[in-house]
Symmetry: C2
Subunit: 106 residues, 2 copies
DNA sequence: CTGATACTTAGCATCATGGCTAACCAATAT
DNA sequence: ATATTGGTTAGCCATGATGCTAAGTATCAG
């Protein structure tokens, strides 16, 4: 899983509908139909959103009978999380160094 | 800073150019020109990327003389980080409960 | 076997995004 | 005073994302 891949993950999270789906799936797996109900949106449109999430590796789906069930993948979330975390800490370390420098010859 | 706001942040990070700019700014502030050099891209185009990052709250810019300097905002990174972190932990807790349940009557 | 349910595929309209050039303004450097 | 540098604004074009409808497939219920 290279960093090259992360913009795709962020792109998947950049749409309000998909964002909401991710939040919903934190509570546990759900079928396409269950996920769709809150949204005033045609099914094919909604399904494409799910495919975007799947391609980004944020969800996994399995079809049993005629029902497709979706699950969040915590590894991908973890990957994004640690990238952001590292950058944030780098910036904060930067800031610390600056403050140290400024207070050096007070 | 509401959750409603996060898709905008993720959208800003979803473009490879902007993603790279963020990585670059972890090493410290830089001017528009300095940031641009690695990219084979017209200045106006590049500038629009910076504006997207700024609107998303990921960077701050100050113009002194004719040079505009850009800095990463760690608070925004932190906000995104903690959102992801919470979701990831929720999913993992879910998984744990499931495993506990499955092993209950072994 | 027939109808309903739960997706799925295909194809189209519209608008946002990301790229460009041309032309401009303001601050420096000569 | 003039030229150069660093950024900015305006406007155009191509592509891709998001929405739709219409029609199809596969399962499940009766």
């Amino acid at each position: 899983m290279a960093n090259q891949y992360l913009p795709t993950v962020f792109a998947a999270l950049s749409d309000p509908t998909r964002f909401a789906v991710v939040e919903r799936l934190c509570g546990g797996p759900a079928s396409v139909g269950q996920l769709q109900t809150p949204f005033a949106m045609a099914t094919p449109t909604f399904l494409r959103h799910l495919k975007v999430l799947e391609k980004a590796g944020l969800i996994e789906t399995i079809k049993r009978g005629r029902v497709r069930t979706c699950t969040l993948k915590s590894e991908t979330l973890g990957f994004a999380e640690s990238w952001i975390s590292q950058r944030r800490r780098a910036v904060e370390a930067q800031l610390d160094r600056l403050q140290t420098y400024l207070s050096e010859d007070t």
